[in-house]
Amino acid sequence: MAEAVCGPAAKMPPRTWGKAVLLTLPIALWSLFMSLRGLLQPNRSLQIASALTAAFMVALFFLMMKTSSTYRWRRWFFVVLGVLFPVGFIHNVMVLRGTMGIPIEEMIAGRTPFCFLPIPLLILPAALTKTLVFPGSILPGGGMSGAGMAAMVGLWLAITLVVGKGWCSYACFFGGIEEGMAALPKKAQWKKIDPRLRLVPWAVLLVMVLLSLALFEPAYCMWLCPFKAVSEYVAARNTLGLIQNGIFVLLFAALVIVLPLLTKKRTQCSFLCPFGAFQSIFNKTSVFDIKIDRTRCSPCVLCQKSCPTMSLTDDSIKKGETLMSCMKCGACVDACPKGAAVWHIKGTEVAVKPERARLMFLYAAWAMAAMFGGSIITEGLATILHLVL
């Protein structure tokens, strides 16, 4: 119980260089191992990109260890991931297909790339009819089908088992752009946001799940996904296609660019993303969470203001909890001047060895980030290097 602390000003002090290096060592080895595949390729751009990515991931983890701040450094990873994903993806699409629009023949051939967003929409049709309502391949099918739907589902399940809703902070390759946008202004212009808007993603999830079952198509991908604007879109063969693409661009501009700038929140994640709502369920299965130590909390609501997804309310702070939409980004922990917002392992006492909880979570989450996000960052970097060198 050496770290058990009482009273105010219980923030973890900065570590010494030696301790920080020592704590970073396992992640350094892991990142090096994860980058080996790229380093051993004959492609020079890929070799440099792999080395840079490994160094970037290790440097960020070291800074997390040295400063005991999580959110600040994680955000760098997440923004870089969000920006470089479209770079690598669009380059691949253009090379393999020549257009960002998905032609109907590519859907028939099962070569539509499958991301994690439609996973909750596939469950009901699959359970009721054994049918996957997505024009992709279960196994690798060549072209843009990538490793296939099974690989994506396997990866999602495995990472979810480890980090739960932390997926949205350490694995999602879409949220980074809006997190970057939200970081740009010093102060939020729009401070009063109706808390009921937090329920919208659940409503979107319910409607999209039912629509996907009724129409037997991934309804969210067809109608609402803002990230179609920076990945691939329905080839506009007719007016309907034009309307669909118009919706994608509008939602992207509003929820990923403009509103994060005005509110300093991840507005797409907070007010639209059905996958995020679905992923919240796995906060219940995750052993890690964030708690508010009521003995230290003087309700300054800095944690509430700093939360990018509005996962803290007056009521939840009184209960010493975050809402189930908490994605364990660590913003509230970093923001709390009293050290009242703490990392926590379920079953243990609140604020007893919170740094141990943070370390255990970060080892697991950063291992996933280096493995999955790292590979995407490498691909984006390699694309840029390939075009520049």
């Binding site: 892991w30 994860m34 032609p103 109907i104 023949e105 859907m107 028939i108 051939a109 099962g110 049709p125 699959a126 009819t129 054994k130 049918t131 996957l132 309502v133 997505f134 024009p135 992709g136 391949s137 279960i138 196994l139 739907m149 099974a150 690989a151 589902v153 396997g154 990866l155 399940l157 495995a158 990472i159 088992l161 480890v162 079952l213 009724a214 129409l215 037997f216 198509e217 063969r237 007719n238 052993v287 890690f288 392992i345 379920k346 079953g347 243990t348 006492e349 007893v352 909880a357 255990m360 979570f361 080892y363 697991a364 989450a365 291992a367 996933m368 493995m371």
Partner: protein, 164 residues
């Protein structure tokens, strides 16, 4: 003293770190394999359904797929898919009467040009010789249920079925 629930919590947290290490080497593969073993299949509106029979022609084959019917509120019509392959062995213009249901009588007459450049958009004419199948004239790829497209070395024609 650490309580039993705290011990359980720390054990679970430690196991989570171990599980994280196993993700790329073991877990991802196990889950992916498990998913493939669920016996799921991609919606036939996209895949065209399984092949029902193969008609041998001179130097190429026509694969006749099982008819595909829309689910629930799907807006497509029921259709049957025919695959001409290999496209490289096809003449410059294909005009063919096809017996879809295998009763010895031709059901449709299909006519399309085979462009040398695989990226050239295609058009197809289908005359109905059996009221079960709908005619199509100068059709490209407006819908999943009525189209002609080239996928690799195969030319796919989807002929819509009449509602009865």
């Amino acid at each position: 003293m650490t309580s039993p629930t705290a011990k359980l919590g720390y054990t679970a947290a430690g196991m989570t770190v171990v599980v994280a290490m196993l993700v790329p080497f073991l877990l991802m593969g196990i889950f992916a394999k498990g998913f493939t073993k669920l016996g799921l299949h991609v919606d036939e509106m996209y895949s065209g359904g399984p092949t029902a029979r193969i008609i041998q022609a001179q130097g190429y084959t026509i694969e006749v797929h099982r008819a595909v019917y829309p689910h629930m509120l799907q807006t497509e019509k029921p259709f049957v898919q025919l695959d001409w392959k290999p496209a490289a062995a096809l003449p410059a213009h294909v005009t063919e009467s096809v017996d879809i249901d295998g009763d010895g009588q031709p059901d449709i007459r299909v006519s399309f040009a085979v462009p040398k450049d695989p990226k050239t958009p295609m058009r197809v004419d289908v005359d109905s010789l059996n009221p079960r199948y709908q005619a199509m004239h100068n059709v490209g790829k407006p819908k999943f249920s009525e189209l002609i497209v080239r996928v690799d070395d195969t030319i796919l024609v989807r002929v819509p079925l009449t509602k009865q």
